[in-house]
Structures are given as structure tokens and as C-alpha cells.
Symmetry: C2
Subunit: 217 residues, 2 copies
DNA sequence: TAGATTGTTAATCGATTAACAATC
DNA sequence: TAGATTGTTAATCGATTAACAATC
């Protein structure tokens, strides 16, 4: 019955890029595109594009290519961007507030309901229409309001305790901005944004280039 | 002469994680660790750990394992975290300010010198000791102050014009937070943080789980 | 020395690219 | 129909894992 082959993460992580470029083509009024043309603007090989899209069944048509709108909507559907997810942000510092002020719900289904913080100076405030609650009330709030997803934006010292709390709730997913790997979240989907990891890679690449230059001498 | 084999990005992107876990071990006072023990805590296979580290020459010692401090310092060196990079942040909105307030220079060499924005209400302000300049003056500022790196935190509509300006300066690297792929930066190292891409993957994964559940029924 | 564990080669696995028959 | 382009299989490439000789 379950004949759906598991899609590899390599493919999944390319989908948002397809989504972005197809959005752009759609905005430009482009009706159809071949894998070869798409390859030129998106930077994947035409072969890879056809392989990727075929994981999800026949979007294209021989001799014609892909209908831009159909493909765009298809990928939107695969990414489940029309699903809504009730979301809270934990940690109302700079990053938490930055995420709170971004209109995620314009392109995806993440609807931010509230923020939580441990700092008494922040608790009780309202930023951009979102209330900041005491972290003590997090667990109850999640259950009462059937929250699906949490964005973790606490300092790294607090992140694991938050994860421990969340693991005992019905939360389904976590977008983790703290610079650690959270443990004990077996049935919860976790997507990490390790900013300092990314910055360290930039640091490496900056230096790698310098090394190559000095080697050439 | 150039016998240095190119290290693959797959390896490079694991290095920050080694760095984090070794930092932790160091803080705990652990002196030595085998690939097998490290495997247990970091989640890579012992074989992969040995392969990864061997890309950079002999950190370990047969029968003993790895000296934690030596390995930590070695990876710090490979990531060039002691190098300093004079950095500006372009776009002083929520994300720009969040990045400005984070102490990146505690673990890496990125030293933030200034912010830039197009909004007259922000230009002239000082946040956490950092001045916000008019974006008109960006190019001159970079040359006069020998800036190495720019963090781009503008809305997506502005990002490519910023890239165009930067491409004509001596800037070496860009940490790009705008949700597009920047063009025309041939000799500049670009590290992207596509937050909405990451969120879309979370959306997919949340739904994938749901699909599997319904299949089981 | 015996035991442990690396460094490194070989085997496997998975992802990307190439090729081409199917078909619009 | 002829030309174009997909869907899909086969070939290649690269990354991960396994195995084991080297050696501390």
C-alpha cells in the first residue's frame, strides 16, 4: 500500500528554490518553461530538474515543457504552504522580535500567536499586536490554544530546558535558532538555523580564497 | 606545488558542529576523546569523523584518540576564526539590528563597524554603539575603512542593488539574509541564510509526518 | 607486550549527470 | 509529420561506511 518512495532531503531542500524562481516567472507572466530554460536561471542541471520533479509525478509534458503555474502550485502543495500552523515564539529578544515582525504567513501557513520570555521587563508587553507571556505559562498556553509549532530564539543556556518543556506538549515542530542541537525531541520535527555555523563557514571560505591566492605566488 | 586537495563542502559544513561539541568537551575538562566516543555525542559515524579530520592531517594518535584541546584549536584555525573581518550591516531593520546586537566577535573574527539604511528615520541613529549611515555613503565607507564583509539584511526588493554596489568595491564576503540569490558577485564569497527556505522545509516535514500517519491507517 | 585506536584503502551507498526512447 | 522535450533508465561521480594494517 505504501508505495510512496521516500524523497531524499537533498531534493526537499531544493524545493524552496524552485518555488522562488517559479514565483518570479509567474509574476513575469511566463506561461511555460522547459527544464533547459529553467536550468539556465536556477542553476541546477536540466537533468536534475527533471529528476527532482519526477519524484512527485508528471508535472511536465513531452515536447512542451512545464506549465509554470501548474508547477508552482504543485510545489506549493508539496511544501504544504497552504496548511496553517499555529505558532509561538519563545524568547522575545532581538531575534524573536525580528521573527515576530516578519510576515511569514504571506508565503506560508505559519501564524504567530504569541511570544514568551523569562524577562519580567518584557513579559506583559505587546509588540506589533503580539503579547509577550511569561515562559511559566508556555506549556498551558500550547495545550489550550492547540499550538503546532514553536520558534526557539532563547540564548543557548535556556534552549534545552525549553526543549524539555516542549517535548511534554503536543507541539509538532520546532524552528530552532539557538546555537545548539536539542535533545529528547523524538516525535517532533526540528529544523535548525544555526547562524553561527553559517558564519563560520563564511569565515572558512574567506580564508580558503586567501590561501589559494598565496599558493599561486 | 599545489598538492592541497580541495575539501568538499559536505566536510566544511560539518566543521562548525565539531567546533561546538569540542568547545563543550573542553569546558567540561575532557582531555582526550576517541572517534567512537565523539561519534556517540555528535551523531556522525566514527568512520566519518576520522575521514573528516584526516582531510586536515594528523590530529589523532593511534591507540589514544584525539587531544580535545589540540583538535579544538586545530578546527578553530581551519575555520580561520582568529582572523578578523571588518564588517558592515546593510539594512537596519529588525534582522539587521538583531545581528548587530549579537556578539559574533566572541567566537569569530567578524567585527561590526556600522550599519547602513535607506530610511531617513533610521539614518543618524546609534544602536548599541553602532552608527546607522545613509546607504548612499556605503561604497565610500567600505573603501575608506577597508571593510571586508557585508551582512545584507534589506528587503528582497533592495538586495540586488546592494549587491551591484558591493560588486564594485573591494568587499571579500557577503552574508546574505535576503530571500533571493544575488547575481554578479563573481569574486566575492557569498554565504546565504535563506530563512524562508528553511521554514518551507519545516512546513514540508510537518506535513510529511502527517502523510505517513494517514497512510498507516 | 597487548590493547586500543588511528590513518587509510576498499567497498558500498546515494546522488547527480548522461542518454535516449516515449510522446506530445 | 517533424521537432522538441519529457520521463526514465543507465552510467558516473562523490560521499559515506567498513575494514584492517600501522602504530602508539
Amino acid at each position: 500500500m505504501n508505495d510512496k518512495k521516500k524523497i531524499s532531503m537533498a531534493v526537499i531542500r531544493r524545493l524552496p528554490k524552485y518555488h522562488r524562481y517559479l514565483q518570479e516567472l509567474l509574476d513575469k507572466g511566463v506561461m511555460r518553461i522547459s527544464s533547459k530554460e529553467l536550468s539556465k536561471i536556477i542553476g541546477f542541471t536540466a537533468s536534475q530538474i527533471r529528476q527532482d520533479l519526477n519524484n512527485f509525478g508528471g508535472f511536465g509534458q513531452q515536447g512542451y515543457g512545464y506549465n509554470v503555474q501548474e508547477l508552482f502550485l504543485g510545489i506549493q502543495e508539496i511544501l504544504a504552504l497552504k496548511q496553517t500552523y499555529k505558532t509561538v515564539i519563545i524568547g522575545a529578544g532581538n531575534m524573536g522580535q525580528a521573527l515576530a515582525n516578519y510576515p511569514w504567513n504571506q508565503t506560508s501557513g505559519f501564524e504567530i500567536q504569541a511570544l514568551f520570555d523569562i524577562n519580567p521587563k518584557l513579559v506583559g508587553l505587546t509588540i506589533h499586536g503580539l503579547h509577550i507571556y511569561d515562559i511559566e505559562t508556555l506549556s498551558d498556553y500550547i495545550q489550550e490554544n492547540q499550538i503546532n509549532v514553536a520558534f526557539i530564539c532563547t540564548p543557548k543556556e535556556r534552549a534545552q530546558e525549553i526543549a524539555d518543556i516542549l517535548s511534554k506538549t503536543s507541539i509538532q515542530g520546532i524552528w530552532n535558532f539557538s546555537p545548539i542541537d536539542l535533545d529528547g525531541l523524538d516525535d517532533i520535527v526540528v529544523e535548525n538555523v544555526h547562524l553561527s555555523d553559517s558564519l563560520f563557514v563564511l569565515s572558512y571560505l574567506l580564508n580558503e580564497d586567501a590561501d589559494e591566492e598565496s599558493e599561486r605566488r
